[in-house]
């Protein structure tokens, strides 16, 4: 009897439990496969004016006016110095940046705080449509500026000639003769001075870090090293640019159309 009882246990352990585990895991796998292949259920009652992110059915141009326009303006012209104008921006550049925000590789401070969440669930098609929408908007008409301001004169000089002795290459060699940009090189003409200064500052001091919450996750604050990997070319160019010159060139760019 004792032997029989002892014999029962191995049977249970080695012959009954494994099938149960296998059946269960197969069931879960089958369930997951099934549910993963159901097309996402839409909650949209208002697809032409939806503010919904994470739904492939909302067209990029709807997102542009309903979501992005809240900060960047319906014409891609922002009202805040911290928020870049997108009007007339290069389409390829916009596509790249939205992808970089989506995969969290572009990590300047405001990018982390504002854009990671916005771009997190954009589809490739939505990114194309958004880039298309904003690249087609008429560029900002800058307000009239005093051309004799020594800062603007200095900015113009750097834009057109660079500072060869400091290794600063002239901006117009990549950003176009009037700063309108070229494919993946962004339009810088008419951009917000504050925003340009921030970005230049990022490349001047590439190892800035901050302990912060990201992507709406208040549970896991972490140290973010600010970076713009696609703009790494800029690091060498502005490495020796002084803060004053960075500001001068940003001011000058904001006056271009």
């Amino acid at each position: 009897m004792v032997g029989n009882v002892m014999k029962l246990f191995p049977n249970i352990i080695f012959s009954r439990v494994p099938p149960a585990v296998i059946v269960l895991s197969m069931g879960i796998l089958a369930g997951c496969t099934y549910f993963n292949n159901i097309p996402p259920v839409t909650t949209l009652e208002n697809p032409a004016r939806s503010r919904t992110l994470g739904d492939y059915e909302v067209a990029g141009n709807v997102l542009a006016v309903q979501v992005c326009a809240s900060c960047h303006g319906v014409n891609g012209q922002s009202n805040s110095p911290m928020i870049p104008n997108l009007a007339g921006q290069q389409k390829d550049y916009l596509v790249n940046q939205l992808q970089d925000y989506r995969d969290r590789s572009r990590s300047n401070e405001y990018g982390v705080q504002y854009m990671w969440g916005m771009a997190a669930s954009l589809t490739n098609r939505q990114i194309q449509e958004l880039a298309e929408y904003f690249s087609k908007q008429a560029p900002v008409k800058p307000s009239k500026s005093n051309g004799s301001d020594p800062k603007l004169v200095r900015g113009k000089e750097i834009f057109e000639k660079g500072i060869p002795e400091q290794g600063v290459v002239q901006c117009n060699s990549c950003h176009g003769p009037s700063g309108e940009g070229m494919a993946t090189f962004p339009r810088v003409a008419g951009q917000q001075t504050y925003y340009l200064t921030q970005q230049l500052n990022l490349w001047q001091h590439p190892d800035q870090k901050r302990f912060m919450e990201v992507g709406g996750n208040t549970w896991a604050p972490r140290t973010i090293t600010f970076a713009r990997p696609r703009g790494v070319l800029m690091q060498g160019i502005v490495k020796n640019l002084s803060d004053e010159d960075a500001k001068a060139v940003a001011m000058y760019l904001s006056t271009l159309q």
């Binding site: 994470g54 319906v74 990671w116 919450e213 709406g216 208040t218």
Partner: protein, 480 residues
């Protein structure tokens, strides 16, 4: 934030709180809206000083909290706790000798956010933590789960061309439970500094009277519509009604006809609240707003208390008839409030400068003497605040509040002369705070009265000076 509490043993509460938070860890319990948009708090809150809104935050609220991705777990929790001083004046909660005691004050539960394409909610509930009372008095609603601010709304947003007259139009409808809960400017009665006060000491809230338009402290269901044109012109009308029973009574939970600690406030018919405002475009980081708002509220007396600050003093409710029954034949107290308000903001990192002000005239008609001795009373109040935040981390603010009005027995009687007191009071409320993370704020807040009930020295004939009502409060505000 309008809540009445008590406290428990701190270690136990903190342990419970910790367990509560840990239990949510795997479910990623995050502040609701931040999770929905994936953006940090500073996107919607000016310099991170919640609940103050940025232009984008106002937009988010007016679009019915629907921007973003609906979350699987639409829940947030907030905790407020700290140490307040007691006062020797008459603005305490009837609790003495507990200055500087570290205690939890509030636990909030927030649910809602995006529900459908056009429908969303801000639904805040609180648990009033049991406070230990020594000395006299009892505080109603201790250990009670209750409905705080509710704002359930539907909104649609039309965007036109730059050539159109109406380039941008939001319209919406709201079901809410405080007049002004729907507002998006922080000069409005429900959302003005100081944003938090201690239940241990009501001086931390500022003026003893009319800190919101007094009738606005009435907690009742209302519904209304609003429109926002070109991000400049705003208009809103709401109607408020009694909520003690019927399908909307959850909005005033736990006030009920059978809860002796929490009487429903009975309003006569539908009571209008309106709000109009002009919001400037943003320019170089500056924006400003100028507005006009008001309400007419007719309130029955009930067999229990009528919502007023005297309940803060811990007087036990007295009742001749059935508990909480409305006195429908005894007439009403009629409040008529008219206010102008304004706000200024400068928002360019690392600097955040914001300022708000509101001037309110209130006429109170009480011909049958329900609350007041005089058939007609008036108050004029001025509330203001300016604040500066550096890098969304270090902040300082100061408020100036002043109220004047007719003398009435309701404000008390001078013990020496027997003359009625008046509401005339002046308060300064400076504060400083440190916000190491966007969801964690440590604040020290001080309230200094230079005038109280019409006087600075011995205002009540009992030798009490205005400064005896001064209060300080060091507290922590955590949102998850």
């Amino acid at each position: 934030m309008n809540s009445i509490n008590k406290l428990k043993t701190l270690p136990l509460s903190l342990l419970g709180l910790l367990l509560f938070f840990i239990s949510f860890n795997h479910a990623e319990a995050l502040p609701l809206f931040s999770r929905q948009t994936g953006q940090n708090c500073v996107a919607c809150h000016a310099g991170g000083q919640y609940p103050e809104l940025t232009p984008y935050g106002r937009y988010f609220k007016l679009m019915a909290y629907t921007l973003g991705e609906r979350t699987d777990l639409p829940i947030s929790v907030q905790f407020v706790g700290g140490a307040a001083t007691s006062t020797n004046g008459n603005n305490g909660t009837g609790q003495v000798h507990q200055s500087g005691k570290l205690e939890p004050n509030y636990l909030f539960l927030d649910v809602g956010g995006k529900i459908t394409d056009n429908f969303g909610a801000f639904s805040q509930w609180y648990y009033a933590i049991d406070e230990q009372v020594s000395g006299k008095g009892s505080i109603p609603n201790q250990n009670q789960f209750a409905a705080d601010i509710q704002d359930w709304r539907y909104a649609d947003h039309f965007v036109g061309n730059s050539a159109d007259t109406v380039k941008d139009f939001i319209w919406g409808a709201s079901l809410n439970n405080y007049a002004g809960a729907t507002d998006v400017w922080n000069s409005s009665p429900m959302w003005m500094y100081p944003y938090m006060g201690s239940t241990r000491n009501y001086s931390t809230y500022g003026l003893p009277y009319n800190t919101r338009l007094s009738a606005y402290s009435v907690h009742n269901p209302g519904y209304g519509v609003y429109g926002y044109v070109n991000q400049n012109f705003y208009g809103e009308v709401n109607l408020y009604q009694s909520g003690g029973s019927g399908p909307l009574s959850w909005m005033t939970y736990p006030a009920s006809n059978s809860n002796p600690n929490s009487a429903p406030v009975y309003l006569q018919g539908l009571n209008p609240y309106f709000r109009f405002a002009y919001q400037s475009d943003e320019h170089d980081g500056h924006n400003w707003m100028l507005g006009f708002l008001g309400a007419n509220i007719n309130q029955y007396s009930s067999c229990n208390t009528v919502a007023d600050s005297s309940s803060y003093k811990g007087t036990a409710p007295t009742c001749g008839g059935p508990v909480n029954s409305p006195a429908l034949s005894a007439g009403t107290v009629k409040y008529q409030d008219r206010a102008i308000d304004g706000q200024y903001q400068y928002l360019v990192d690392p600097h955040t400068v914001t300022a708000q002000a509101r001037y309110t005239k209130e006429n109170i008609s009480d011909p049958t003497g329900i609350l007041y001795g005089n058939p007609n009373n008036k108050t004029n109040s001025f509330m203001s605040k300016v604040s500066y935040v550096y890098n969304a981390t270090y902040g300082a603010a100061v408020a100036f509040q002043n109220i004047t009005g007719t003398g009435d027995g309701r404000y008390g009687v001078n013990a020496l002369t027997g003359a009625n007191l008046n509401p005339n009071s002046t308060a300064w409320i400076p504060s400083i705070w440190y916000q190491p993370l966007q969801n964690l704020r440590i604040t020290y807040q001080y309230t200094a009265f230079t005038k109280y009930n019409g006087g600075t020295i011995n205002y009540n004939g009992l030798g009490t000076n205005a400064s005896a009502n001064n209060a300080s409060w060091l507290y922590l505000w955590l949102a998850m």
